[in-house]
C-alpha cells in the first residue's frame, strides 16, 4: 500500500513538472514582447528591462525553470504586477479560500442530490423516472455555467430578494448568511454537475446490481435494501468518487464564467484577470495552485477508492 502511495506521488510530481515547464515557457513563446505589453508602448528602456527582469525573461530557460520550481515549493511567486504591494501567494490564497467555501457548499448540494438521482434512476431503470432523470441531467449538464448563471440571475436573483446578485458576503458574516450569498453560484454548480455525476452513478449502480456477487447476496436471503446497503453501494460508488476527484480541480479553477457573472472573487476569476493583464507571476501562481489542487484531489480519490475496493488496490499499484 505504501508503495502504491509513493508511486502515485511520484507520478503526480511528473505531471506537476510538465505543467511547470509549460508555464515557464509561456512568456517565452508569446509572440511579440510581453514586457512591452505590460510596460506599455511608451515605456523607457530601463522600465522595459526592469519588467523583463521581473518576468525572468533575461535569464536562460533552464534558470527560469529552476526559478519556477523553487517558487512552487516555497509557494512564493513574487509580487503581482497588477496589484503591486500584494504578493501572489496572498492573492492566490485569498481567492483559494473563497473558492473553497463555494466548492464546499456546492458539494453539500451536489453530492447527495446527484448520487441519489443516479441510484434512483438505476433502481427504477427504464421507467419514466429514470428517463427523466437521465435526460434532464444530460440537458442541464451540457449548459455552460455562465448560461445557467445568467438564467438564474434573471429568473431568481432579480425577482426574489433572498437570492443575492453578487456572491460576495460581507466580512465576518455568519455561515448561514454566507450560504445565502453563495446560494446562486452553488445552485449553478449543482445544475452543471448533476447530470454528469448522476449518470456515472447510475451506470455503475446498474452494473453492480447485475453483478454475480449481488446475485449471491440475494440468494442468501437478504432483502433488496440490505443487498444495496451492504454490498452494492460500496462498489457502485467507486467511479463516482473517481469522477468527483477529477472534477474537484475544475470546480476550483474552471468556473471562470460563473465567477464573473456573480462577481465572485474566486480562483478562476483571479487567473482570468491575470491573463487579461499579462500578470505572469499571478498567472503562474494561480495555474500551479490549480494543478496542485487537482493532484491532491485525485490522489485523495484514489486512496479512497483503494480503501473502498481492495481489488483496486492491486490494480492501482500495478498500473501506477
Amino acid at each position: 500500500m505504501t508503495r502504491f502511495i509513493v508511486r502515485r506521488l511520484l507520478l503526480s510530481l511528473v505531471t506537476l513538472g510538465i505543467i511547470l515547464v509549460l508555464i515557464t515557457l509561456i512568456p517565452n513563446l508569446a509572440p511579440g514582447d510581453p514586457a512591452r505589453k505590460i510596460a506599455g508602448g511608451t515605456a523607457s528602456p530601463e522600465r522595459l528591462m526592469a519588467v523583463r527582469e521581473s518576468l525572468g525573461l533575461d535569464k536562460s530557460i533552464l534558470e527560469q525553470l529552476r526559478d519556477t520550481a523553487t517558487a512552487v515549493f516555497t509557494f512564493d511567486f513574487g509580487e503581482s504586477f497588477t496589484r503591486p504591494g500584494f504578493s501572489v501567494s496572498e492573492l492566490v490564497l485569498s481567492a483559494l479560500g473563497n473558492s473553497a467555501r463555494l466548492v464546499a457548499f456546492a458539494l453539500v448540494l451536489v453530492l447527495p442530490i446527484s448520487i441519489l438521482g443516479g441510484v434512483v434512476a438505476a433502481r427504477r431503470r427504464d421507467t419514466w423516472l429514470d428517463r427523466t432523470i437521465v435526460n434532464t441531467g444530460v440537458a442541464l449538464s451540457s449548459l455552460p455555467e455562465f448560461v445557467v448563471g445568467v438564467l438564474f440571475l434573471a429568473l431568481l436573483a432579480v425577482p426574489i430578494e433572498f437570492f443575492k446578485v453578487i456572491a460576495d458576503p460581507p466580512d465576518g458574516a455568519s455561515v448561514l448568511v454566507q450560504m445565502q450569498f453563495l446560494m446562486l453560484p452553488a445552485l449553478t454548480v449543482l445544475v452543471v454537475y448533476f447530470g454528469y455525476i448522476a449518470r456515472i452513478t447510475r451506470a455503475s449502480t446498474i452494473e453492480n446490481l447485475s453483478a454475480d456477487y449481488t446475485r449471491t447476496a440475494y440468494m442468501k436471503g437478504l432483502s433488496t435494501q440490505q443487498v444495496f446497503r451492504k454490498h452494492v453501494l460500496r462498489n457502485a460508488l467507486v467511479p463516482t468518487v473517481a469522477v468527483i476527484g477529477t472534477q474537484l480541480g475544475y470546480m476550483f479553477g474552471g468556473m471562470v464564467g460563473l465567477e464573473l457573472i456573480y462577481n465572485f472573487p474566486g480562483l478562476g476569476r483571479l487567473i482570468f484577470d491575470a491573463v487579461d493583464a499579462a500578470d505572469y507571476p499571478l498567472l503562474r501562481g494561480g495555474v500551479l495552485t490549480v494543478a496542485i489542487i487537482y493532484m491532491v484531489a485525485t490522489l485523495a480519490a484514489d486512496l479512497m477508492i483503494a480503501w473502498m475496493n481492495p481489488r483496486a488496490r492491486l490494480a492501482l499499484s500495478e498500473a501506477a
Binding site: 454475480d212 456477487y213 446475485r215 440468494m219 442468501k220 436471503g221 437478504l222 475496493n309 481489488r311
Partner: protein
C-alpha cells in the same frame, strides 16, 4: 405404462419437485419459450443431475428452483416445490426466508460470486447472521464452516479479500456459505467449469463428502457428463427445455434410451477411444434457439429415427426400466441409430522430425519480477503427427504454443527448428515459408474472427497473404477451402455474428489451412463449443490430417479429447515437460506422479472407479517455482532430501516415452500397479455378497 407427461410422486415430501414448469423469456416484446414443461423430483438426500448443452434450459431450471429469475422471465404454467413449499407463488418476504433457510446455491464462477470489497470472514458470517445469530456467534460459526470445507487455516482466510484467494479456494468459501443454513436443497450450477482438473476434483470430492454429513438433496447442473456421473444418483437429460430421458446415472449412461442421449454419449470419446478406431458421432443440424417452435418432439429436427408421427404427435413418456423413462415414440428402435464411420485410411506419421523445440525457455519480464513461463522444453514432432499438450493453469502450454508460432521469442539458447532449419524467433523476422507453415486455431471463436469482415474476405485475405495468389484466383481458393470445411456458399457472405460457435470455428480452421500449413497449433479449439459440435470439429481435424498430413500441436484440458486425437502426449507442469510419450504408452503407464494424479482426477463418464489422488496445496505460480522438482510440494510420492533439492533427470521409461522424475520407472510401475489393484480390490464385490445388503 405410458403417459404423455411425467409425474411427481409427492410434492410435499420431495426436497425439490418441479411440476410441468413452463417458462418464457420476453425479448423485444416476443415471448420465447425456454422451458416447455419440465417435470422431475429430487428426494431428500438424493443427488440429481441435469445435463444438456447450451440453451437446453438446465440453468434456468436451477434458478427457477430458487426463484431467481430475470425481469423478463414469465412462468407460464407449472409449479416448483422445495421442501413442500410452493416457491412459484411465494411472497417476497417468504421467498427471502426460503432462500435463507431452505435452499442454497453454488455458482459457476466463484471469483465473481463473492463481493470483491468485503473480507471473506464478513461474507461467510453474513450467511449465519441472516439466520438470526449474533455477530460474534456468526463469526465463530463462520470459522467452523470454513474448517468444514477443508480450509486449513480459517482465521487467515477470513481476514483476506477475495482477490487474494484462488478459484478453488473461493468455491469452497461459496460452498461454506451455502451450507450455513443446513438447507434441504443445494443447487450447484456448473460449479467446477473453469477450474483446473485437480482443483475440480477436490471441489467435487468435498461436495461428495459433505453430502453424507449434511443430508441435503443436491441438484447438480453440468454439461460435463463425467462430473454428473461421478456425483449424482439420478440424471435428467435436457434438450430444448424438456427432459427427454431420466434414470439412474449408470443406466442412462450405459444404456441410453433416447436418441439424443445416444448421440450425446457417442460424440464424446469414451472408453479410451482413439482417432484410429473410428470417427466421433455427430448430431446433424444445430441446437435449437430459445423460443424456436417445437410443438411435438423437441428433437425431431435432428433425430435419425424421426418419422412423420414424430412431427405430428407429442411423444409419450415411455418407462424403460425401474425409474428409467424416455420421451420417444420409438424407444424400441434405439439400436437402429447408426454407428459413426470407422476410419478407412491408415494414419501415417512421418519418420523425421518436422518441428523441433530444443532447450526452449521463455521468461517474461514484468515490473514485479521475472516470470519463467517455460523452462528447458525439449519436444518435437513429425509430419502428420498430433502432439497433445496437457496441463493446468501456469503449465506453460499456451506460452509454448505461442513461442513456437513466433508470437513470443524464446530466451537465449533455445531454438525452434522447422525441418532442421532454425527459425527466427519472432514472426516479423521469419521468412514467408515459415509463416505459412505454422498457423493457429484459437479457443474463442468470437474473438478469433474479425467481426467486421465477411467470411469471404477473411478466407480470401488469408489465401492472398499466405500463398501470394490474388484476385479471383484467391477467392476461388477461398471458396474451395470453405467447402472442404463443410461450409456452404451462403455462409461466405455472412459475418461472424451470424454464425454459430461451431461454424465460426470452421471458418477459423479454414483460415488456418488457407496456406496449406505444415503445422497447425490448436489451442483448446473445442473448449468453448458444445459437446455435439465439438465432435464434428474433432472429426474435421482428424480428416484433414489424414488427407493433407498436417501436424497438430493440440492443447486441451480435456484428457479424453486429447487421448482421442493425439499420437503423442506431453504433460506440462509449471513450464516444464513432466512426461512425454505415445498416447497408448502413456495411458498404459507407468506415469510421472503428476500425470498419475491428473488422470485420477478426471471424472469418468464410463463409470470407472476413480479414487482420486489428493494433491495438497495450490498449483504454484511460475513466478515462484518450488526448488528442485517443481512438483515436489504436492507430489504424493515425494522423497524428502531428493525431490526438493535437485532438478530431476529425464528418464526413459520405454523407447519414446520419457518422464522427468527422481523415482526410477520400474519402481513407479510397481507402485502404480499396486495402487490400481488396491482400488479394484476395494470395489470388486465378492460374488457371494449382494451389494444392496451392504448399504
Amino acid at each position: 405404462m405410458t403417459a404423455t407427461e411425467a409425474t411427481i410422486s409427492d410434492a410435499r415430501t420431495a426436497a425439490l419437485a418441479v411440476d410441468n414448469l413452463e417458462m418464457s423469456y420476453v425479448v423485444r416484446d416476443i415471448p420465447r419459450e425456454v422451458l416447455r414443461g419440465v417435470t422431475f423430483e429430487v428426494r431428500p438426500g438424493e443427488a440429481y443431475g441435469l445435463v444438456g448443452e447450451s440453451g437446453c434450459g438446465k440453468s434456468t431450471t436451477a434458478y427457477a428452483a430458487m426463484r431467481y429469475l430475470p425481469e423478463n422471465a414469465r412462468i407460464t404454467s407449472g409449479t416448483v416445490y422445495v421442501d413442500g413449499g410452493d416457491v412459484t407463488h411465494m411472497s417476497s418476504r417468504r421467498l427471502r426466508e426460503f432462500r435463507a433457510r431452505k435452499a442454497s446455491m453454488v455458482y459457476q464462477d466463484p471469483v465473481q460470486a463473492v463481493n470483491p470489497s468485503l473480507k471473506i470472514g464478513r461474507q461467510v458470517a453474513e450467511s449465519f447472521e441472516i439466520l438470526g445469530n449474533s455477530a460474534a456467534a456468526s463469526r465463530q460459526l463462520a470459522r467452523e464452516a470454513l474448517r468444514r470445507v477443508r480450509i486449513a487455516d480459517p482465521d487467515s482466510v477470513m481476514d483476506r479479500y477475495p482477490y487474494q484467494l484462488s478459484g478453488g479456494m473461493l468455491q469452497r468459501v461459496v460452498i461454506a456459505m451455502a451450507l450455513a443454513s443446513d438447507p434441504a436443497l443445494l443447487v450447484l450450477d456448473e460449479p467446477t467449469t473453469g477450474l483446473d482438473a485437480t482443483v475440480e476434483a477436490e471441489v467435487l470430492d468435498l461436495v461428495r463428502d459433505l453430502r453424507d454429513e449434511i443430508g441435503a438433496a443436491i441438484l447438480l447442473i453440468a454439461h460435463n457428463l463425467g462430473v454428473i456421473r461421478s456425483m449424482c444418483d439420478r440424471v435428467g437429460v435436457m434438450y430444448a427445455g424438456r427432459i427427454v430421458e431420466e434414470g439412474t446415472v449408470d443406466v442412462v449412461f450405459d444404456s441410453p434410451g433416447h436418441p439424443y442421449t445416444v448421440g450425446l454419449l457417442n460424440s464424446i470419446p469414451r472408453h479410451g477411444l482413439r482417432k484410429t478406431d473410428r470417427e466421433l458421432f455427430t448430431i446433424p443440424g444445430n441446437l435449437p434457439q430459445i423460443g424456436d417452435p417445437l410443438p411435438t418432439c423437441v428433437y425431431v429436427g435432428r433425430c435419425p429415427l424421426a418419422t412423420d408421427t414424430c412431427r405430428t404427435e407429442i411423444p409419450p413418456v415411455v418407462a424403460l426400466d425401474e425409474g428409467h423413462w424416455t420421451r420417444c415414440h420409438y424407444p424400441e428402435r434405439i439400436g437402429e441409430i447408426p454407428e459413426p464411420d470407422s476410419v478407412s485410411t491408415e494414419h501415417l506419421v512421418g519418420e523425421s522430425e518436422l518441428i523441433g523445440i530444443h532447450g526452449v525457455s521463455k521468461t517474461f519480464h514484468q515490473r514485479s519480477g521475472d516470470v519463467p513461463a517455460l523452462v528447458g522444453v525439449d519436444l518435437g514432432f513429425s509430419e502428420g503427427e498430433t502432439l497433445g499438450l496437457v496441463g493446468e493453469s501456469g503449465s506453460g502450454k499456451s506460452t509454448l504454443a505461442k513461442t513456437m508460432l513466433g508470437i513470443y521469442e524464446p530466451d537465449e539458447g533455445g531454438e525452434i527448428t522447422l525441418r532442421g532449419r532454425v527459425m527466427a524467433g519472432h514472426t516479423s523476422n521469419r521468412i514467408e515459408e515459415s509463416i505459412r507453415s505454422i498457423q493457429m486455431i484459437f479457443q474463442n471463436p468470437d474473438s478469433a474472427l474479425n467481426k467486421s469482415w465477411t467470411v469471404r474476405r477473411i478466407l480470401s485475405r488469408a489465401v492472398t497473404k499466405l500463398t501470394g495468389v490474388t484476385g479471383s484466383t484467391a477467392e476461388a481458393q477461398a471458396i474451395a477451402i470453405a467447402r472442404a470445411m463443410r461450409l456452404s456458399e451462403r455462409h461466405l457472405d455472412m459475418r461472424p455474428r451470424q454464425l454459430s460457435g461451431g461454424l465460426k470455428q470452421r471458418v477459423a480452421i479454414a483460415r488456418a489451412f488457407a496456406g496449406d500449413p505444415t503445422v497447425v497449433v490448436a489451442d483448446e479449439p473445442t473448449s468453448a463449443l458444445d459437446v455435439s459440435v465439438q465432435a464434428a470439429i474433432l472429426n474435421l481435424l482428424a480428416d484433414l490430417q489424414r488427407d493433407v498430413r498436417t501436424s497438430y500441436l493440440f492443447i486441451s484440458h480435456d484428457i479424453g479429447v486429447v487421448r482421442y486425437l493425439a499420437d503423442r502426449i506431453a504433460v506440462m507442469y509449471v513450464g516444464r515437460v513432466m512426461e512425454l510419450g505415445p498416447t497408448d504408452d502413456l495411458f498404459a503407464g507407468p506415469n510421472h506422479p503428476y500425470t498419475e494424479a491428473l488422470l485420477s482426477a478426471v471424472p469418468s463418464v464410463d463409470g470407472e472407479a476413480e479414487h482420486r489422488i489428493p494433491l495438497t496445496g495450490e498449483i504454484p505460480s511460475p513466478k515462484n517455482p518450488p526448488s528442485g522438482c517443481v512438483f515436489h510440494t504436492r507430489c504424493h510420492r515425494f522423497i524428502p532430501g531428493t525431490c526438493d533439492v535437485a532438478d530431476p533427470p529425464v528418464v526413459e521409461v520405454r523407447s519414446g516415452h520419457t518422464i522427468k522424475c527422481h523415482i526410477p520407472p520400474e519402481q513407479l510401475a510397481v507402485a502404480q500397479a499396486q495402487r490400481l489393484a488396491d482400488i479394484r480390490g476395494a470395489l470388486d464385490p465378492s460374488p457371494a455378497v449382494d451389494q444392496g445388503s451392504e448399504e
